[in-house]
C-alpha cells in the first residue's frame, strides 16, 4: 500500500506535491519522496520517516521544476531497512530523464525481472517500480515513441497497479486493466494533478475530472491531456477494502464516496435486530458505519469510546502488554455512557482479533453490560496479493473459526458481520466489478502458485 501523486503545472510543483502527500499520508507513513524535473535536470529527495520528518520547507525549495511525482510508502516487514526501495525512482539514459512512482503488486514480476536482467539491466532495488522503468526505457531505446513505450510496458504487466511517471517533462499516469487500486485526476488553472485519492485534489484546490479508467494511460502536458485505452477487461476488480478500511472517508473512488458506502454498510448492519442503549463507533475507522447504523436502527449514536488526538510514545506500563497499552493510549471509554449499558460497537473489520479483544475487555472493565460487535466487512479468510497488508491465513482469526467462535474469542456478547451480498450492494458497484478475494479466497487473476505468492509478489510499492 502506498499513496502516489503526479503534477504538471505552470509553476513549481514541490509544494503541491507535498500537500497531496499530506492528504494521502494514511496510505503510507514509513517513507516519503518527491522527484521534480525543471526541463533540464531531475531533482530527488526521499527518506524513511513520516512526511513531516522527511520534508521541511527548506528541503522543498531544493526541488524546482514544473512537473514531478511523489509517494508516501508503507513498508512490509520484509522490506524494512531496504531503503533503496523508497520511491520515486529516477533514471537517466541516453538523454532521457524518467521518474516513476508506482504502487504495484505484479503476478509476473519474477519473469519480467529475469527477462530484463537478460536484456542487460542490473537491478539495484527489489521494487516493481524498477521493473516498470526498465521496460519503458528499453522500449524507448528500441525506438518506440514515449507513448508506445508506456503502452507496450503496460501490456507486459500482470497484477494490480497504479502509477505516475514523468519522462522528459511529460506526465504519465496509468491504472491496471482491472482497476484494482484507485487513481484519479483533476485540474487547476495551472495544470493537472493525478493522485491516489480525490482528497489530495481537494487539499490543493484542484477540481476532480474523473477516475483514471481501468486499463487507461493518460498523458499530460500543462495544457492538455490525452487518453489511451491500453487494455479492456470485461469486468473490473475494484478493491472492496478501499471502501471498508483503506481510503479516507472523504474520498470519491470510482464514483462512490467512501463515507456513503460505509454509512450504507452501517445501515445494513442496523437492520439486524438488536436491543441496545447506544451505538458507538470504534474511532476513527468505525465512525461513518456507526452513523448509518444509528440512523437505520434508531438506537442513539453516542460515542462510548473516544480517541486521544495526540500521538504518544507508548511505554510499557507495569502489568500491561504492549498492545493493551497502545490501545489504552489511543482510546478512552466514556464510563457514564457505557456503565450498565448495552452497547453496539461498530468497527470496520477484524483481522487477527487481538485489538478487538482488548477493546471489548476495556469497555467491559468500564462497566458495559452487553457489547454487541458489528463489523462493516465480511470475515476475512484469505490474504491479499494486491497490496493490502493482511497476515497469513494462519494468523487471520476468521480462517478456521465460525462467527460464534470468533465472538467467544473476542469476548463480545453478540457479533455480526455484514454478508458479502449486502456489502457489495452497500458499496453500490456490481459484484462482478469488485475484488472481494479476502472474503472468499477467489482472486480476480490467477495466482499462479498461491503458496509461494507471498514471496513472489513484491508488495512494497
Amino acid at each position: 500500500m502506498s499513496g502516489i501523486a503526479g503534477i504538471i503545472e505552470t509553476q513549481d510543483v514541490s509544494y503541491p506535491l507535498y500537500y497531496a502527500l499530506h492528504a494521502l499520508q494514511h496510505r503510507g507513513q514509513e517513507a516519503a519522496g518527491i522527484s521534480t524535473f525543471d526541463g533540464e535536470k531531475a531533482y530527488l529527495y526521499k527518506a524513511p520517516g513520516q512526511l513531516s520528518e522527511v520534508f521541511s520547507e527548506d528541503r522543498l525549495r531544493t526541488l524546482p521544476g514544473f512537473c514531478g511525482v511523489a509517494q508516501v510508502l508503507y513498508t512490509e516487514k520484509a522490506s524494512r531497512g531496504k531503503n533503496e526501495n523508497i520511491q520515486p525512482l529516477n533514471f537517466s539514459f541516453q538523454g532521457h530523464h524518467l521518474s516513476v512512482s508506482v504502487s504495484a503488486s505484479l503476478i509476473n514480476s519474477e519473469s519480467l525481472r529475469s527477462e530484463y536482467e537478460g536484456k542487460g539491466h542490473i537491478f539495484s532495488t527489489t521494487s516493481n517500480a524498477e521493473i516498470i522503468a526498465a521496460i519503458i526505457a528499453h522500449e524507448l531505446i528500441g525506438g518506440a515513441s514515449p507513448r508506445d513505450a508506456f503502452v507496450r510496458t503496460l501490456h507486459r504487466l500482470e497484477g494490480a497497479y497504479t502509477g505516475v511517471a514523468t519522462l522528459d517533462g511529460i506526465l504519465y499516469a496509468f491504472r491496471d486493466p482491472l482497476g484494482i487500486k484507485p487513481l484519479c485526476f483533476g485540474k487547476t488553472e495551472r495544470g493537472y494533478l493525478v493522485v491516489s485519492e480525490s482528497v489530495a485534489l481537494d487539499i490543493t484546490g484542484a477540481e476532480l475530472i474523473r477516475d483514471v479508467e481501468a486499463g487507461e494511460l493518460l498523458i499530460f502536458t500543462k495544457e492538455a491531456f490525452e487518453s489511451v485505452q491500453f487494455a479492456k477487461a470485461e469486468h473490473k476488480a475494484h478493491c472492496i477494502f478501499e471502501y471498508v478500511y483503506t481510503a479516507r472517508p472523504d474520498s470519491v473512488i470510482d464514483g462512490v464516496l467512501v463515507y456513503d458506502a460505509r454509512r450504507r454498510i452501517g445501515a445494513r448492519l442496523g437492520k439486524i435486530p438488536t436491543e441496545a442503549d447506544l451505538v458507538s463507533p470504534v474511532p476513527d475507522s468505525g465512525t461513518a458505519f456507526a452513523t448509518g447504523y444509528s440512523a437505520e436502527s434508531g438506537i442513539p449514536y453516542i460515542e462510548g469510546l473516544l480517541k486521544n488526538r495526540y500521538v504518544g510514545r507508548t511505554f510499557i506500563m507495569p502489568g500491561q502488554s504492549k498492545r493493551e497499552n497502545a490501545v489504552r493510549m489511543k482510546l478512552n471509554p466514556v464510563r457514564s455512557h457505557i456503565k450498565d449499558k448495552s452497547v453496539v460497537l461498530v468497527d470496520d473489520s477484524i483481522v487477527r482479533g487481538t485489538t478487538s479483544l482488548h477493546i471489548v475487555d476495556m469497555v467491559k472493565e468500564f462497566g458495559a453490560k452487553e457489547i454487541h460487535m458489528r463489523i462493516g466487512s465480511t470475515p476475512i479468510i484469505a490474504p491479499c496479493y494486491f497490496g493490502v497488508d493482511l497476515p497469513t491465513r494462519e494468523e487471520l482469526i476468521a480462517t478456521n473459526r465460525s462467527v460464534e467462535e470468533i465472538r467467544e474469542t473476542i469476548h463480545a456478547t453478540t457479533l455480526e458481520y455484514i454478508s458479502a451480498e449486502e456489502l457489495v450492494e452497500s458499496v453500490g458497484i456490481p459484484a462482478e466489478d469488485l475484488c472481494i478475494a479476502c472474503s472468499c479466497g477467489e482472486y480476480p487473476v490467477d495466482i499462479p502458485c498461491e503458496k509461494c505468492m507471498k514471496k513472489k509478489i513484491t508488495l512494497l510499492d
Copy 2:
C-alpha cells in the same frame, strides 16, 4: 490554561505521571515537566516542547520516586521564552523538599508578591506558583504544621486556581473556593492520583473517587487521604468554557460528563426550527454537539467536513493566507455531502470569527447551497481573567456586533447561538454555581481594575 497531575504510590510515579500528562495534553502543548521525590532527593525535568518531545523513556527513568507532580503548559504570548516559568517548580529549604504545580490566575498576585519580597524571598520567576510556594515555605519556617502551612497559604489566594504539591513525601491538592477550574482524584491499588480531568485517571487505570471540592485541601499518603475544607463560598463558579470547549468530552467535571453537556446543548440548538439536509460538526470540537442536534432535530448526522488526522507543517501555498492554508490542511469538505445541500454546521464557539469565515467560505466553495451555523456557546463578549486565553474585547467578534452582523461577517446563511439560560440548563449545574463571565461580563470575583488586569494577572500557570 494548563493540565496538572500529582501521584503518590507504592512504586515509581514517573511513568503514570507521563501517562496522565498524555491524557491532559489538550490543556497545554508548549512545555511539560515532571518532578519526583524518592524520600531523600527531588528530581526534576522540564523543557519547552510537546510532551513527546520533552520526555523519552530514558528521561523518565532518571526520575525515581514514589510521589511527584507534573504539568503540561500552554504559554501566553507574553511569556514565550520565559522558560524559568515552566512548572513544576522545586524548592528546598531547611531540609524540606517542596514541588508545586499550579494552574492559577490570582487577583492579588501583585500584592502577595510584594509582601513576600518584603519578607525576604527573591523571586526568580514571574509565575504564581512561586508566590504560592513562598507562602507555604514561610508558614512552615514560621512553625506551622504542613497542613496549616497549606491552609494559611490558601487563605491568602484570591482568584482561580488548582494545584498539586509534594512536601517531604506527602501529596497535597487544592482547589479555589469557587471551584473555577476542574480538579479530581482517584485511586488504584497502589495509591492516589490527582488530575485536572478524569480522563487522566482512566488512562492510568485509576478509579475516580470524586472532584476535589471548591475550597478543599486534600492530603494524601500512599494509604489514605484527609480532607480539609479551608474555605466555603455560598456559590461556586465553575467555568462554563470547560464544558463548551476546554475539557475533553470524555471527562467528568463536577459530576457532569462533558460529552453529555455538549450533547444537550446540541439538542437545544436542534429545537430552533431549521430546514436542512444534514447536520455536520466542525470536527473535532463540534462532534458531541452535532450528535445531540441531529437526535433532536431529526436532521441526519452526516459529516460534511472531515479532519486530516496527521499534523502537517503548514507551508504557505501561493495565493493563500496562512490561516486559510492551516484550515485547508486540517479540514476537508466532503463535496458530495454538501454540494447543493443545506448544511447545518455545529461548532463550539466563535472567538475572533476568522476561522469560522474560512470554514464557511470553503464549504461554500465545495457547493453548499445554505450554511446554517449553530454555536454551542453564547456570543463571547468579555475576556477571561481566570485562565482561558481569549483575546481583548476589541478582537472578540461579538463585542460590538449583533448576531446578524456576525452572521454577515462570517458569510453564513443563518447563525444561531444558544442562549445563556439554555446553556446553563444544558450543562445541568445551577446558574449561580457557574462562571459565565465571558458571556455576560460579570465576574464571580471583583476584578479590581479591569483595564490593567490583563497585565496584572499572570495567566501562565
Copy 3:
C-alpha cells in the same frame, strides 16, 4: 568548573556572548545559558547539552539587549539532572532585574543558605549562585546602593569564586580575595567584556585590559568602569591546575601565558637525563609540555600518538572495555615512529591512572621498546574543594603509592613527575601566591571539616 562571560555594549550582546562561550567550551560542556537585558525586560535561555546544541541563530535572536551574562557548565555527577542549577539565574524583585553567573565553591555556603532562609528566601536551586543573588537582593531591599549591595555580599563569601552579574542594566564582575579562579576583562569600541579566560576576548576581537584582581569588584557601563577593592589578602592562591590542565594554552592568566608555563614545565622535565629516540605529547593536552621538553633535551619532537579530530559515538567493540575503546577512538599510535623505539611520552597529569595505563599498553602494542612517561604536574594526592573535579583520595592513584609503584601500575619503563618547586618556578608566580593543595594537601583556606566537605561545597557553579 565552568566558564562565564558578561558583556555590556552599544549593541545586542547575545552574539558576542555566544562567541565567548564558544571559546570557553573546554570549561564546561554539559549545559549552557545566556541571559540578556534590554533596559526593560530580561531574557533567558539555558538548557542541558553542548553549546552548539543549546543555541541556534534563531535562539540568539530571541535574546535582545545591550548587556548580559552567560555560562557553560560542567556538571558533577551529584548534580546530573538538577537542571534548575543551570546558570545564569534570573531574579526580579521590587522592580529590579538581576542576572547572575558565578563559578563558586564556598566554604560557608551552608551557613549562608541557612541565614537567608532565615531571612525569608526560599531556595529553588542548590547552587551558590542563588545564595549570592539572595544576599545581593537582601542588601538592595535593605536600602544599600547597588555598589554597596555587591560589596557587602562579597564580604560574606568564603571560598573560591568568580562571577558576573547584570543588575538593572549595569554589569558587575568580581573575583575572590585569593584570586583562585581566573577572570579577566577587555574592551572593544562598543563596550566591555568580562570572561573566564582571555581567549574569549580574542574571539570577539576585544583587547585584554587586565585580569580582575583578587578581591576586586568591577562595575561597568557601556562607556566606563569603576574598580572597587573589596578585600585584600596578603597572598593570592591562584590555582596551579589552570596552568597544568584546565585553561586553554592560548590564555593569559594572571600575567602568564599558559602555553609558556607548560613549555617551561616541559623544559624542566627535559633536564632529567633520559635516553630516547623521540619525545611525543599525549595529544592535545601534552603538546606544549612536549615542545619544551624537546627544545631542552634535544630529543626530537615527533608525534608518536595522533588524535582523531572527529568526535565519534563510542560503541563497545567485542573484546574491548569502554575506556579502552574510547582511547582507541581518539588516539592512534604512529607505528613507524614508535616501533622498536624508546619513546618519551609527555602528559599533563595522572589522576586515576586508568587512561595512562591504556595509553602505555596501546603504545607498547604498536611496538615501542621503552616508554618514558613524563608528567607536567606533581603527584596528585588531595582532592580539590575549589572547583576542579578530582576524585576522592581513595581513587587518586598517587595517594598511597610511591612514584615507582605508580610506574609499575601504568606499565611505563620510567616515570618522572616534575617537583613542586620546579612546577612553581616554571609557572613563574611566587609559591605563596599559588594554590597547590592537590599536590600537598594544604589548602589556602581552612577546610572546616574535610571529611564532609565534598558534600558541603557545591561545586557545580
Copy 4:
C-alpha cells in the same frame, strides 16, 4: 574524494566498518553508508550527513552479516542533493548480490555509460560506481566467473580508482594500474579488512599486510586471499597531494608514513635561510611540516596559532565576512608568542589564497612583526581530474601569478614554496611513480579534452 572500507570476518562487520569509517572521516563528511551481506540477504543504510549523525548503535544492529563495504563521501557542489549517488550501491540480479563502494574518476565514463546503456542497463545514478557494477554484472551474466568478471571490468576502466565490493559473500578490492589513490589491507584473527588508509586498520586492531598494488585485484574469503595482477604500468602515479594534504599523518601510504614525508618537506623548507623567532604550524595540517622545519632550522617550534577543538556554528558577527568569522572561530593567535616577533608560519598549500590572507592579516593584527609563509607543496597551477576537489584554473591563486605576486596578495613578509624536486625527494618515491599534475599541468593519463573534463569526469565517488 572519499574513504572506503571492506571487511570479511567470522563475525558481524557493521561495527568494525563503522570504526573504519570513523578513522577515514577526513576523506568525506557529507554522506555515509554501510552495506552488509549475511549469506542470504544484503542490508544497506546510507544517508547524507556526518558519520555520527547517519549511524547510531541501533542502526548498526540492523545490518547483520559477515562481509560488507562502506563509504564516507565528500560531495562536489555539482552533486549536492543527488542523494541517489551516495554509496555503497547494491544490486541483485539472477540470484547474485553485489555491493560496491568505489572512489573513481574515470576518463572514459561517458563512453562506458553509453555502451552499457546500449547493452540494456538503465542507469539510476550518475555515479561511476553504477558503471562499474553494470560491467561486472554483464560479465557475470555473460558467463564469466566472478574473478574474470572483475578482471574484465577493470580492463575497461581508464582513470583513477580504488574500490571494494562484495559479491555473493566474497570480498573484492582493486586499485587502478597507476595506483593513483591509496588502498591497503590488513588482517585480524577474524578475517580481512581493506581500507583507503592504514589508520582504519589501526582503529580496528588489524595488522597492515601491505598496500594493494597498482593494477591489483584482491579476492578475500574469511580465511585467505588471492592476488590477481590485472594490469601493469611501467610507472605508477601516486597522488602527491595525499602526502601533502589529503591523508591523515598517521597513515602509511605506499610504504611512506605521511607524517614523515611532511616532516622531511618541512626540513627542506627549513634549509631556506630565514631569520625568525619561532616557527609555528597553521594547525592542524601544518604541524608535521613545522616540526621538521624547526628541527632543521633550529628555530624553536612554538605554536603561534592554536585551534579551538570544538566545532561551532558560524554565525556572522557584525562587521566580519563569513570566511573571516570561520577562521576566527577555529584559529586563535597567541598574542605573546607573536607580538613583535618574526614568525615562520608553515602550511600545507595555498589554493585560492583567501584563507591564507585571513590568517596572515589576523596574525598581523595580533602584533607579528614579520610573517614568513612556508608552503609544503609547490604552487598549484592545474586542476585535478582524479578526485582532489581543486577549483578551476581561474580560481587558483598561482595560475597566473608569480610567487612574489602571491606573497603580496596574501600580505606575507616572505613566501617560499618547496620546489617540485625537493617535494618528490622528501616524499621518497621516484618522480616517475608520482602524479604531480596539479604542480605542472602534465597528467599521467591523456585527458581527452581538458576543457570539458570537469564536466565529463564524475568526481563524486
